[in-house]
Amino acid sequence: MTTPDQAAVLVDVDEHRGGTGTARFVLKKLVEALISVVLVVVLFFFLFRMLPGDPVAAMTRDRATSPQQLALLREQMGVDKPVFVQFGNYFWGLLHGDLGESRLLNNGRPVADMIGERLWPTILLVGSATVLAVLLGLWLGIRAAWRRDSLFDRTQTGIALTLWSVPQFWLGLMLLVATNGLFPSRGMHSPDAAPDVLSQTIDVLHHLVLPCVTLLAVFYAQYMLIMRSSLLGEMNADYLTTARAKGLRDDLVRRRHAVPNALLPTTTLVFMQIGSVVAGAVTVEAVFSWPGLGQLTYDALHGPDLPVLQGVFTVLASAVVLMNLLAELLYRVLDPRVRTS
């Protein structure tokens, strides 16, 4: 078992000992991640081609359309070509950052642009909710474990588990009804906000409250429970007895000795979650009409707008792969045992 200071020393030792080992490790992980992303791209491409439904028919439903128009649309979309030619074009485009063009939502718009403009609202929403969920979850988890089986532990664990099991869209709607117009029910901007930066910022924050609270309420439980159980695992460790024997106050024992060691599994979880949490925001974004990636996915699914779906899923899957890669690299830094093994 190591305290943070010891860990710092170990990092130094490792760097002196074998820089090439680390480089090889990083390179290996990078290649693995790259292969995963390519597989994801291939898989999604063919998976979406297997879905039922004719994109051209879906586009023109309920509208007077001549067969010539339909043929023209098919040609414009390239869906009249063999599937492997389509894949070749798609993959070549992808290498140049071209994710194709939207068919339904914004016919002809580059998918990369659409994802780009939706990315920041999602990062704002998911990012703030994750940061708050991590802080709240860790704080509650530490306290719940330290006072295991106390009233605090039991009620907090109960509340967290209940919120964790509640459907997000339902919780969101309930919050909308309960707050009775205190917060806006849609979007990220009000058309009535003054154009200056301060008013705009406050307007966005105002819109952020409900979706953020909804996500936070649903997500913090996992951080709390992991923190709680990993801290419980450390509770009977000898080094805590030593620390107490030194005469340290109880909360210092917890803060300086138990928590840093128990944080390792939680850190991994945080990184694994960040990648997938965007996908988890789909329903919340739909309820609050938040103009983010989740909503784009929801719209694209309804089309279905295959190029958009494909683009979104590729980006989301890449995010998961990237975060897993970061977690693996970070874990090596955090935990000396991983490096030496």
Partner: protein, 608 residues
């Protein structure tokens, strides 16, 4: 390392951060009045998407509606009956051979940049559509038959067609300013959605701000030729969730909402300050019967049960479906019983079966029909076809629509009573359209939205609408192919006498009905609601009982009149509140910081 940082962060900033965050969250609602609202604003909840502002490429219905609010058309369907009425064109006259149409263009109408609107703009719009395929994306079907379009002078537009075209008095094409659009080479360029191009307009409203995926803001066109709208500003606010939109109406965040479902509609009825509006819809719901459907080379496609090729079986099924019960129970009375494929909102063209044509709901008669046709009932109550196969039909529909679920339940029960077993298989939208387009169904619940001109509703059942043998190019609804029907369809398409044309349209619907390729179940009402404590005077289409938003026109929002006190809020007071809030946050942070510092001092002695 990271863990250590987290702990330090939690220790040093945790409490302070928590206090500040709580204060900030609590303060935000107070800051809401910091909004630059001016004048009377009508807020409309929009629950469908917008693809483009560029009227040449705008395809989705909400975008088309924006085009109606902002651009004027040669003619528009009037509010009373959705029939052609003057707009940019004061009058229009066909030549004796009906191949040349001359439109007299109204003088004195101006674009929002001050330039006059002339016949040259109209000629440019149509000629662009004739020469640029991208310009045909949204409304290309109107110009396919055009020979030439010319503007001999500023007030005269002459359109020559190759063959007689009946919808010439109702060309649903927004007219755009030539001086803005002529320099635009690529109509697919995203820049064409920007206000510098798409924002120059001559309709009752002008777009002032478009935030993609969020809202569109319009200001009233004070110089509009019919007279300025009575509201100052129009906002279309996008909602992805209709429940959230309903809640927003209740809380006064929006003023008008449409596309409600019967449950939401019922919940809003009788609410203080809210008026509901159930208007006849422009959509028909149907139960399609797979009568052995074919492609346009007459090859049978799909896997329909062959018993449905027998007209008697289809007749018996029609006799066994009680459309009145479906309207009463499934639609909760918010709809009309089905007849022809042109909904009753279009009174001139709608057809209802009467007298001997009408197939009445009668289970005994349905049983008799099947008995006579030689389908004997077995001991288990299920009939068998003369070949020995049991009468067992698959029923498909949209799994996510409660309407389809309700209809499926009722139909299954009724058909059981006449000795036909039904296997329900409701599926996703895409799976359903895949199955119905390839003939892989026995019974399918579906429906189509229609336009004021009956051509579209009728065209869905012609031989030519069927797909080619490679599965492409189909625009059919029922796969119906019948010489008599096609003949009537062609006659109505070239008959320019309104009364005679209506007669052909009705005869075509009667022919379709008599062959039972589909049962038109009902026409669902368009369900809308609005804040009657804030607005009145919405002009519905048609009159007297029609829709506010679900229109082919701008009448609903154009007629909106504010009632009661002004919705104006000055922004001065808002800023004061804002500064108070900021001050409060600063105070909280300072006090919190002080408390934290004193705590740190206390625990210093405990350090290792």
């Amino acid at each position: 390392m990271m863990g250590w940082f987290l702990v330090q962060f939690q220790r040093r900033v945790g409490r302070l951060g928590a206090v500040a965050a709580v204060a900030a969250l609590a303060a935000i609602p107070l800051a809401v009045p910091a909004q630059a609202q001016q004048g009377k604003v009508l807020r409309v909840a929009l629950t469908t998407g917008i693809d483009h502002l560029n009227p040449f490429t705008a395809v989705l219905s909400a975008s088309t509606q924006i085009g109606r609010f902002t651009f004027e058309f040669l003619t528009v369907p009037d509010a009373a009956k959705a029939e052609a009425s003057p707009a940019l064109a004061e009058s229009w006259t066909p030549s004796p051979d009906k191949l040349t149409w001359t439109f007299k263009i109204r003088g004195g109408v101006k674009w929002s940049d001050g330039q006059p609107v002339t016949a040259k703009d109209a000629a440019f719009t149509f000629n662009r559509m004739l020469t640029d395929e991208n310009a045909r994306t949204a409304n290309g079907n109107y110009v396919g038959n055009f020979e030439t379009v010319t503007a001999p002078d500023d007030t005269t537009l002459v359109i020559k067609t190759k063959t007689v075209q009946v919808n010439m008095n109702l060309l649903d094409v927004p007219i755009v300013p030539q001086h803005i659009w002529e320099p635009v080479k690529d109509l697919k360029d995203p820049k064409t959605d920007e206000l510098a191009i798409a924002g120059v307009s001559d309709g009752p409203f002008q777009v002032t701000e478009y935030k993609q995926n969020e809202y569109v803001k319009f200001k009233a066109n004070k110089d509009y030729w019919r007279g300025a709208p009575k509201i100052d500003e129009l906002q279309l606010l996008q909602f992805k969730d209709t429940e959230a939109a309903v809640n927003a109406l209740k809380q006064g965040e929006v003023d008008v909402i449409n596309r409600l479902n019967p449950n939401q509609f019922a919940a809003l009825q009788g609410q203080q300050g809210i008026t509901t509006n159930a208007a006849p819809g422009r959509r028909y719901d149907e139960l399609s019967l797979n009568f052995g459907v074919t492609d346009n080379a007459n090859n049978i496609i799909g896997d329909g049960n062959p018993v449905l090729k027998d007209l008697n079986v289809r007749k018996a099924i029609t006799q066994a479906v009680d459309t009145q019960t479906l309207v009463d129970k499934v639609l909760k009375g918010l709809g009309q019983v089905g007849g022809g494929v042109v909904p009753p909102i279009y009174t001139a063209y709608h057809w209802d079966p009467s007298g001997t044509e009408k197939v009445k709901f009668d289970l005994a008669a349905a049983n008799a029909t099947l008995d006579q046709a030689g389908y004997a009932k077995g001991p288990d109550g299920v009939r068998t076809a003369p070949g020995g196969a049991k009468l067992e039909l698959r029923l498909t529909g949209h799994a996510n629509r409660s309407y389809d679920q309700g209809v499926a339940q009722f139909v299954t029960g009724w058909l059981r009573d006449i000795g036909i077993t039904v296997k329900q298989d409701l599926v996703s939208d895409d799976e359903l359209s895949d199955r119905t387009q390839t003939g892989k169904y026995d019974l399918a619940i579906g429906g189509y939205g229609t336009s004021p001109d009956p051509d579209y509703a009728l065209s869905l059942h012609t031989c030519a609408a069927r797909p080619s043998p490679d599965g492409k190019g189909g625009s059919t609804d029922t796969f119906f192919c019948d010489a008599q029907y096609d003949d009537l369809y062609k006659k109505q398409l070239t008959e320019t006498d309104d009364a005679k044309r209506a007669e052909y349209v009705k005869q075509a619907q009667a022919r379709l009905y008599s062959q039972f390729p589909t049962i038109v179940l009902d026409y669902q009402n368009a369900l809308e609601a609005y804040r009657s404590d804030k607005f009145a005077g919405f002009t519905t289409q048609p009159q007297p009982k029609g829709a506010i938003l679900e229109q082919t026109g701008y009448w609903g929002v154009y007629g909106a009149t504010p009632v009661g006190a002004s919705d104006t809020v000055s922004d001065g007071s808002g800023n004061t509140v804002l500064w108070i809030v900021i001050g409060a946050v600063v105070v909280v942070v300072l006090v919190g910081g002080g408390v934290l510092l004193s705590r740190r001092g206390k625990s210093a002695e405990d350090r290792e």
